[in-house]
């Protein structure tokens, strides 16, 4: 039950940011460009005329009921604006995660089969190369080569302009737009997961139960897939859970490169319109998603691995 202090800590960070920032805290909660009446309403709602400890209590109450402020630019509650964009980001991130797992585990197995062999060195070098490249650069390069030069896939947005397609043709249109950004976002995760799968497998293959299995005459393919892989994948699961924050940050950049209409695009437009409530709201939504992901991973881990139990 370390959840409560963590969540409280994040809300406290938000509160501190609002109050340490130069200028009136109401600007961070209500955005610029408002009129006096609107500001006095927001001041009252968040208790900004009260002493600081009371303000903190009010702030906690507001966040607890999902009130993350009000975007004057959008004319709506912050949370509402963000949640509208969440499905597109979820689709992109989820697809990228599936790509990452589908590519990374076979590559990790290939690399671990003969450590320090030619294939392993090739895969590991490639993984480190991709890990070192900025994600927006990979996106820009893939647009230049695959989309503009070869003309294989669309480069911008979620659907073709002016397309009123419905049903299956709409789905395939979205999928064609999704392929490239999802692959670019996945490329970073693949590198991390390949390295983990590889090192986990190499570690696992030196253990006694593997030697027993080999001594019994179990075929090498079965040793790898059935005896070594399941245990080697446990740390992979943990890391997937812990990388939710990285993935959402990557998704934000990828969305901007590819014009994908999710939370990343919202981030950019909010930066341009100086819409602080939305930016703060995005920070909260991402933080809580990360916590939720960690929690789910820990629960899954406990369900899969009998050595780990919550006390």
């Amino acid at each position: 039950m370390q959840l409560v202090p963590t969540v409280a800590g994040i809300v406290l960070v938000g509160f501190l940011l609002i109050h340490l920032a130069p200028g009136d805290p109401v600007l961070a909660l209500a955005g610029e460009h408002g009129d006096a009446q609107y500001y006095s309403f927001m001041r009252q709602r968040f208790g900004l005329d009260e002493p600081l400890p009371q303000q903190l209590a009010t702030y906690f109450r507001r966040v607890a009921v999902g009130d993350l402020g009000f975007s004057y630019v959008h004319g709506r509650a912050t949370l509402q604006v963000i949640m509208e964009r969440a499905p597109a980001t979820l689709l992109l991130t989820g697809t990228a995660l599936v790509f990452a797992v589908l590519f990374a585990i076979p590559l990790g197995i290939l690399a671990a089969r003969r450590p320090h062999g030619a294939r392993d060195i090739g895969i590991s070098a490639l993984a480190l190369g991709f890990y070192s490249a900025p994600i927006f650069w990979l996106g820009q390069l893939s647009i230049l080569v695959i989309a503009l030069h070869l003309g294989l896939l669309p480069v911008h947005g979620m659907t073709s302009p002016g397309s009123a397609a419905a049903g299956m043709s709409h789905v395939s249109d979205v999928m064609r737009h999704l392929a490239l950004p999802a692959l670019v976002l996945a490329s970073h995760e693949i590198t991390v997961l390949v390295r983990l799968t590889r090192s986990g497998l190499i570690d696992e293959l030196t253990r006694d139960h593997i030697r027993t299995a080999r001594a019994k005459g179990v075929r090498e393919r079965l040793v790898m897939l059935h005896h070594a892989l399941p245990r080697a994948l446990l740390p992979v699961l943990t890391v997937v859970g812990n990388r939710a924050g990285h993935m959402l940050a990557g998704a934000a950049i990828v969305e901007i490169v590819f014009g994908w209409p999710g939370m990343g695009r919202l981030l950019l437009t909010s930066l341009q319109t100086r819409d602080a409530p939305i930016l703060l709201g995005l920070f909260f939504v991402v933080s809580f998603t990360v916590i939720l992901f960690n929690l789910v991973t820990d629960l899954l881990y406990a369900a899969i691995d009998p050595r780990v139990r919550f006390r």
Partner: protein, 296 residues
């Protein structure tokens, strides 16, 4: 089970068993590191990056802010990396951009070292309630999404290198603190620490002279990886237009390229390449150091 378990970097690379060897047998870790192919490659790439950073004024063919040719010229002998939409020389921009990017990464690494190693040493050495408290705080910081927090901070406090360094430094230390704490935890019962304590050495002396030198190799691995990560985050911030407007950096250059992707590929290509080379260099060095420490 803690809320957040160690990240990729620490899980994969931290040399868990190496802490138990006395320092003397690990003296040669630098030599071993450089003898590995990945170590040599890392040293070359890092050396190249550092040379470019230091020699930028001598190597640059033009003032990176001055208009030195027609706009959007493709790479040529006069402009090895082409020119941007205003006719500024991109080659000189990349050279000078290295200074800002590397300054930010170095400053954040320093700040992380001070916070992370300090908290890790104290928590691991003192143990007990203080350790519990510090580790809870560390876990909370570890959950914070660094990228989004820095964006909010810059949006509220305004852009500036000092704010970028502060925001990144104050959010990057948790993994380092956990690794240092774990190592100190196993070191503090070993004879040489006990011997120092029983001969009357103060806590500060033990931390500074006995424990810190022994955790330094793993710290160096973590900081090498962090250096690369910070370069990438700084680049992403610049790409979003959040870099210091008065300081040219690789990220700022890459951000300006996005609008000209269809007409001027070089604007996106070269700054990104520079970032990749620098990050790859520090990652390779960190990797090789980790490999030499774990005796692989």
């Amino acid at each position: 089970m803690p809320l957040s378990t160690p990240e990729f970097a620490s899980a994969d690379l931290a040399p868990a068993g190496s802490a138990h060897e006395p320092l003397s047998t690990r003296r040669s870790s630098f030599a071993t590191t450089v003898s590995l192919p990945s170590g040599r490659a890392g040293l070359i790439l890092t050396g190249l990056t550092l040379a470019v950073t230091i020699l930028a004024p001598a190597l640059a063919t033009a003032d990176p802010f001055a208009l030195s040719g027609p706009p959007l010229v493709a790479p040529s002998l006069v402009h090895p990396m082409g020119t941007d939409a205003l006719g500024r020389d991109l080659f000189s921009g990349v050279l000078y951009g290295a200074r800002t990017s590397l300054f930010v990464a170095s400053a954040v690494t320093m700040l992380t070292f001070i916070c992370g190693a300090g908290i890790g040493l104290i928590a691991g050495y003192r143990g007990g309630v203080l350790d519990d408290l510090l580790m809870r705080v560390t876990e909370m910081f570890q959950v914070l999404p660094r990228f989004f927090l820095v964006i909010v901070a810059i949006a509220l406090f305004g852009a500036g290198l000092d704010r970028i360094v502060l925001a990144l430094g104050l959010t990057s230390w948790p993994v380092l603190a956990r690794v240092v704490r774990a190592e100190v935890f196993s070191l503090r019962r070993i004879e040489f620490v006990r011997a120092a304590e029983s001969s009357g050495a103060s806590g500060v002396h033990v931390l500074w002279h006995e424990l810190l030198p022994n955790v330094m190799p793993s710290v160096a691995v973590m900081l090498g990886l962090l250096f690369g990560q910070v370069l990438l985050v700084e680049a992403s911030l610049g790409f979003l237009g959040l870099g210091d407007p008065n300081a040219l950096s690789w990220g700022v250059l890459a951000g300006q390229a996005q609008g000209f992707l269809r007409v001027a590929w070089w604007l996106a290509f070269f700054p990104g390449l520079a970032i990749t080379v620098a990050v790859l260099g520090s990652n390779l060095l960190a990797d090789a150091l980790a490999a030499s420490l774990s005796g692989r």
